[in-house]
């Protein structure tokens, strides 16, 4: 049956893209791989180390702590932002000028550069001139993010929720808008409760955008750098030092190219792995529910 004429012109057409991807991704990545298996002492002095850097990185207790911190941070913000985003999307006005106004208001935090977000919150939480810091102090709360690890954590989570919940809300809002009005009418005719409408119409119809929202928010939060760096500088102590900050310190601050290259690869693989596991689990869950195939 295989009577296709071999035609290699397709390769020619793919080639420009391939070259582009090579320069933008493959070559830099390979450079990192190259560093990760060598000890670079100087421009002309390098030794092959094999997997030594990987082993030492995996056994580094400071990095393990940062990793745990990172995972907790991602889980906490997902647990807050996803339900909150859905909730906001549900109460957003559906039409008219109010809808546009709310959309613009809600989008504003997304438009602010990351390090500016950090600066805004740094000032906001200052005890002497920041509205929040000053206000809490006036209320008698002993709030200080440079001294108290708990305060620092709460503030960083709060900042991330403020910055990124709008993304989840917007995704959900667009998902909700795509549900035909007739579904709601049918539910009213069925005398379905508000909860039933949410559980059996809105939530199932939101599944796809929620998968995207969770993936985006997980990857984003797992790579968070600029905001906590500006706000707390990783402190107090190393209480809010996340993985990307540890990496920067190692690679740029201490010029430990080999270890930081190995660390980057592990970091990259973890994100890839978690995203893949999450995605396939969700897809399997949907398939199990619909054993006859279908979308």
């Amino acid at each position: 049956m295989n009577n296709k004429v071999p035609n290699n012109r397709a390769w020619l057409l793919v080639l420009p893209m391939l070259v582009l991807v090579a320069f933008s991704a493959i070559i830099p990545l390979m450079t990192v791989v190259n560093y990760s298996v060598q000890d670079v002492l100087g421009p002309n002095a390098r030794f092959f180390t094999g997997t030594e850097w990987f082993e030492s990185m995996l056994n580094d207790s400071a990095l393990q702590a940062a990793f745990l911190r990172q995972i907790s941070f991602s889980l906490i913000i997902l647990a807050i932002q996803i339900p909150l985003g859905i909730g906001i999307a549900l109460i957003m006005p559906k039409r008219g000028w109010q809808a546009s106004a709310v959309l613009i208001l809600i989008t504003l935090p997304l438009l602010i550069p990351w390090n500016v977000v950090g600066s805004i919150w740094q000032i906001f939480t200052r005890g002497d001139i920041g509205l929040m810091g000053w206000g809490l102090r006036e209320l008698g709360v002993d709030y200080n993010i440079t001294r108290n690890a708990g305060d620092a954590w709460v503030t960083i989570v709060l900042m991330d929720v403020w910055h990124w919940t709008p993304l989840v809300a917007m995704l959900c809002y667009s998902g909700l808008r795509s549900i035909p009005e007739a579904y709601y009418q049918a539910a009213r005719i069925d005398r379905a409760s508000k909860w039933a409408v949410f559980r059996y119409i809105q939530l199932p119809k939101l599944t796809n955008v929620l998968v995207i929202a969770v993936l985006l928010r997980f990857m984003h939060s797992f790579m968070i750098y600029a905001e906590p760096f500006v706000l707390t500088g990783g402190g107090p102590g190393s209480a809010t030092t996340f993985l990307s900050q540890s990496l920067t310190t190692m690679a740029v601050g201490q010029q430990d190219l080999g270890p930081s290259a190995a660390f980057s690869l592990i970091y990259f693989l973890v994100i890839l792995l978690v995203s893949w596991v999450f995605y396939t689990t969700i897809m399997h869950m949907q398939k199990d529910k619909h054993p006859h195939g279908g979308a």
Binding site: P180, A182, Q185, A186, R188, I189, Y200, P204, K205, H292
Partner: protein, 365 residues
């Protein structure tokens, strides 16, 4: 269960969607709402269901004023143009959902869902999810949800529009059967005159938010009470040709004279719009007194196994509805036979003043 709409007006943002509708639906009746897009069919159904209250007027259900009673407190069901089912529930759970909400015992739910599924021929699909079904099966599921509870009023808002031709005919026939044994009022909205004829029952002709005519479907078809009603209830639309009537003859286009039959003689002489159904125009003479017209072909539109032939006379266009598939070339000269005994006459206010005498059920199509 009877439903009475009294002087209903519905105005949204200053635009009248429904004006002055008076309509009484009998218990156990099957009613078709016929009208083009934006005629107000869906709005009227929403008002009947209680999804929104009318701006003015009263809705009386079984002698009780339910004008401001919300849909949640009424016993209605509705089937939509889109296939509306709960996406995360199986066919069984979808059909069972109204019964579950009404807290019926499990055994009864099982029995009723089984019965309905069998009636709708989806008993083998009960464990599937809506998105795994074909359009026809999804709509059957939605109908199952509507039929499973003994609603007082069942509304169908163009339920077959999104289905293919064959399925439509099938479901339409079954639908009539399903309602024979029921005592609820069924209301079915459609844009297609042929669908109204196939469904039978009663037909209400709507146009721009007004009720033009209501009565038994066949009667409304044969005796439209006005020009609009006749135009709405014919596909292709009835041909309207202006003409003058004198004591002895009718003149079309100032040049075509022909003697009028006895029935038309009863009318006052003057200007009228005369209507002739597309299916009554022929390419071969049917009777000696048929008027022969010289026309030119504009376009031949083939619809199924029928041909809609658009032609024009010097001043007015005509449409012929021919059985079978025919080929014509543009501008081809033809002779069309115009049956003078089949004429409708409408006065200049658009009211019917003359309908052709019935001859052994000949006129249909």
């Amino acid at each position: 269960m009877s439903l009475h709409l009294q002087k209903i007006d519905h105005i949204v943002n200053g635009v009248a969607h429904i004006s002055g509708i008076d309509l009484a639906l009998e218990p156990g009746s099957f009613n078709v709402l016929l009208g083009r897009t934006l005629a107000g069919k869906t709005t009227l159904m929403r008002l009947m269901a209680g999804l929104e209250p009318p701006t003015q007027g009263k809705i009386i259900l079984d002698g009780k004023d339910v004008t401001n009673v919300s849909v949640r407190k009424r016993n209605v069901s509705m089937v939509y143009q889109q296939f509306i089912n709960y996406p995360s529930l199986t066919v069984y759970d979808n059909i069972a959902s109204p019964l579950k909400l009404a807290k019926h015992p499990k055994s009864e739910i099982d029995k009723r869902v089984g019965e309905i599924a069998e009636m709708l021929h989806i008993e083998h699909l009960l464990n599937r999810y809506p998105e795994e079904l074909s359009g026809g099966q999804q709509q059957r599921t939605a109908m199952g949800r509507a039929l499973v509870k003994d609603a007082d009023l069942i509304l169908f808002d163009e339920p077959l529009v999104n289905l293919d031709y064959k399925l439509r005919e099938e479901l339409r026939d079954e639908l009539r059967e399903l309602f024979k044994a029921r005592n609820c009022i069924a209301v079915y909205a459609t844009t297609e005159p042929n669908e109204a004829l196939a469904l039978g029952g009663n037909t209400a002709v709507l146009h721009e938010g007004r009720l033009l005519q209501y009565g038994p479907t066949e009667q409304v078809y044969r005796e439209p009470n006005g020009r609009f009603s006749a135009e709405m209830f014919s596909e292709p639309p009835i041909n309207i040709v202006p003409g003058q009537l004198t004591d002895t003859e009718i003149t079309f286009d100032q040049t075509l004279h022909f003697p009028c039959d006895d029935n038309l003689k009863r009318l006052e002489p003057g200007d009228y719009d005369f209507g002739v159904r597309a299916s009554h125009l022929t390419l071969v003479p049917q009777r000696a007194d048929d008027l022969a017209l010289d026309v030119h072909v504009d376009v031949a539109e083939i619809s199924g196994s029928e041909t809609f032939l658009h032609v024009h006379h010097e001043r007015f266009p005509l449409v012929l509805h021919l059985a079978g598939i025919h080929q014509f070339s543009v501008n081809e000269p033809l002779k069309v036979y115009f049956p003078t005994h089949q004429l409708y006459a409408f006065n200049k206010q658009g009211h019917t003043v003359h309908t052709p005498a019935r001859q052994g059920g000949a006129a249909h199509g």
